[in-house]
Amino acid sequence: MTIVLAGKSPQKARVEEILRSEGFECVTAASPRDAKELSRDFPVILLGNSAVDLFLSDDVFAFRKISGLGAGEPAVFLLDYGSDTPDYVLPLVLRRAVSTALSKRPVFILARSVRSGIPGVEKLYFDARNAGAAIIKYEELSIQRSDDICEISVSDGIYRYTLGTPLLVDCAIEEDKEAIEYAKALRIHTYGSNRINEDRWFLSPGRTSRRGVYFLDTGLIVSDRLKDTIFSIADELRRSPDAQQETRAHVDASKCAFCYTCFRVCPHAALEPDGSAAAMKVIQPLCTGCGICAAVCPAKAIGLHGIGHIGIEPGSAGKTLAFCCENSAAIAADTAFRDIDADIVRIPCGGSLDGESIAAALKTYSRVIVAVCADEACRHFDGSVRSMKQVEKIKQAVGKLGVDPGRIGFVRVSHAAPAVLRDAAGR
């Protein structure tokens, strides 16, 4: 089985070695464009190498001076200052602190909390203490600067210390810009301008928004975890996606206006232009069946296999219809609607709901609930935000028609708090 490695990393040889031991053949993508082409046929692992840049609090104290200064002056590594230091930075800082301490320089590590749950960190703390570094857990901290010295006053809640140092090391992360280029070419979800993966419960380490494309930032990942992550990627690649899901989108090429809307909104990069048909087509193995494309398609050219048009049976006045996202509300519905006379329409994602369905439901039901996942819990990234916007739009429109917008409810729920859904429906 072939796997494509894209991006640069000093750990690349190691990644390749692990992959080979798992029975993969590695091919290297030369450019983002190359990676894009290869990603059609093979899974891709994008390597990033974000660096942790240990910089001094000011230019005056350039870090390179560290070796040139008198041995007696202490170096202070400051963590959690301004904001919490991310856990992947911690081992890197500790390693740097150990090596500094071993060069017979007093070292202080100031942290708001000592975190040891990260694999390998306990040992580093131990090494640091052995090398003579003092670790201070602070509650309050203030810094006074003069030309060549920083006066740091720290309190751990019981005692107060004052440290004078010319070497105050703060920590920041320098993202791998090249990896971002690759990410754009591979059309995986990025956040802000330069973060490839956000903390989402449904993304296991290394996974991205696109199936078959993985992202390993070897600069940030703790080395023990690298191997485990690659193992789990290898395991995943051996699975059949067919067994995983039933619903997928399909494009009716005769209706497609080739407007690229679906291409732009698909969170999983599952659509591509089919030039010969002058229409979009769904890359079946990448489609997760969320239905966002079907909801936004202005030509109604996209349908979902397994789910036809959301059929709404005529309800009776006084009855409630709940559009329930399969990932959250639909699971909670059994418990939540035990005592409520409500009809339930299961939808694959909040994003698959269009205004027409909401309006049509209002025609026959006296109350319509749209129940979806919390925004950042949405497996399809912005599906639940989209549903909220649809609801807002329809509410505004029906308000102008003289229909009570209060008949439409919107609630963010989880399967693990069903009474919230019940309250929304039973209002």
């Binding site: 690229y260 202005p298 109604k300 027409e356 025609k363 102008k400 028609l401």
Partner: protein
């Protein structure tokens, strides 16, 4: 592409509520792509109109036309149009008028046709052309002063340009700043030294309704 947007729904209702049978006709080209008058919008509008208490006695049908600016496509709507008392066209202004020519019943616009524009992002369009009939883009680095300068001036910027933004609102780029930046990257700032003379607006709408006849294609003898 022609960019349009749906009229306020209360305005649409006020124009059609007196009819008993209304046909909504979508258009599959520009207005579909700009998400104003395609099948999705037509169906959504239909289901919203059915909710309106003042439209209770109105029956609504939807027909999806591929294009409203070529008459052959109307055939698909003929049957439904014969049934209807009025047609609500979701085409651009051209589509509405062309439908009105074909059917001897009220044809009502559902959209406001806004401008000729481009899609900059999902759900975001900006005006780039006014169809003024005499293109000066060659002189201005490919950025149109007629459509993109609030005052359509040819020797800009005016005194209202500040920090690269137009005086009418800080979200609007000053077209002349864009022209300057563009010519600068092209190394053609010399273009700016040339005073563009007052232009001939007769090629624009000011010359009256415009028409083009291609003599090599049109066999009609004048």
């Amino acid at each position: 592409m022609i960019v349009a947007e749906l009229k306020p729904i209360e305005e649409i209702i006020s124009t059609i509520e007196s009819y008993e049978r209304v046909l909504i006709a979508s258009c599959g080209t520009c207005v579909t792509v700009c998400m104003a008058g395609g099948e999705k919008e037509a169906r959504e509008l239909a289901s919203l109109l059915r909710l309106s208490p003042s439209m209770e006695n109105t029956e609504i049908r939807v027909v999806n036309l591929q294009r409203q600016c070529d008459r052959e496509f109307f055939e698909a709507a003929d049957e439904d149009a014969a049934w209807a008392d009025a047609v609500l066209s979701m085409g651009c202004g051209a589509g509405v008028q062309f439908m009105a020519e074909r059917y001897s019943k009220p044809v009502i616009p559902a959209l406001n046709t806004r401008f000729i524009g481009v899609n900059r992002d999902v759900g975001y369009w900006t005006e780039v052309c006014q169809g003024c009939g005499d293109c000066v883009l060659e002189k201005t680095g490919g950025i149109c002063p007629v459509a993109r300068c609030s005052k359509s001036i040819f020797n800009g910027p005016c005194g209202g340009s500040s920090g690269g933004k137009c005086e009418i609102n800080p979200d609007t780029d000053c077209a002349w700043q864009l022209i300057y930046d563009r010519l600068k990257t092209l190394g053609r700032l010399d273009r700016l030294y040339e005073t563009i003379p007052p232009r001939d607006w007769s090629l624009s709408r000011d010359g009256g309704p415009r028409r083009i006849r291609r003599s090599d294609v049109s066999t009609e003898v004048k």
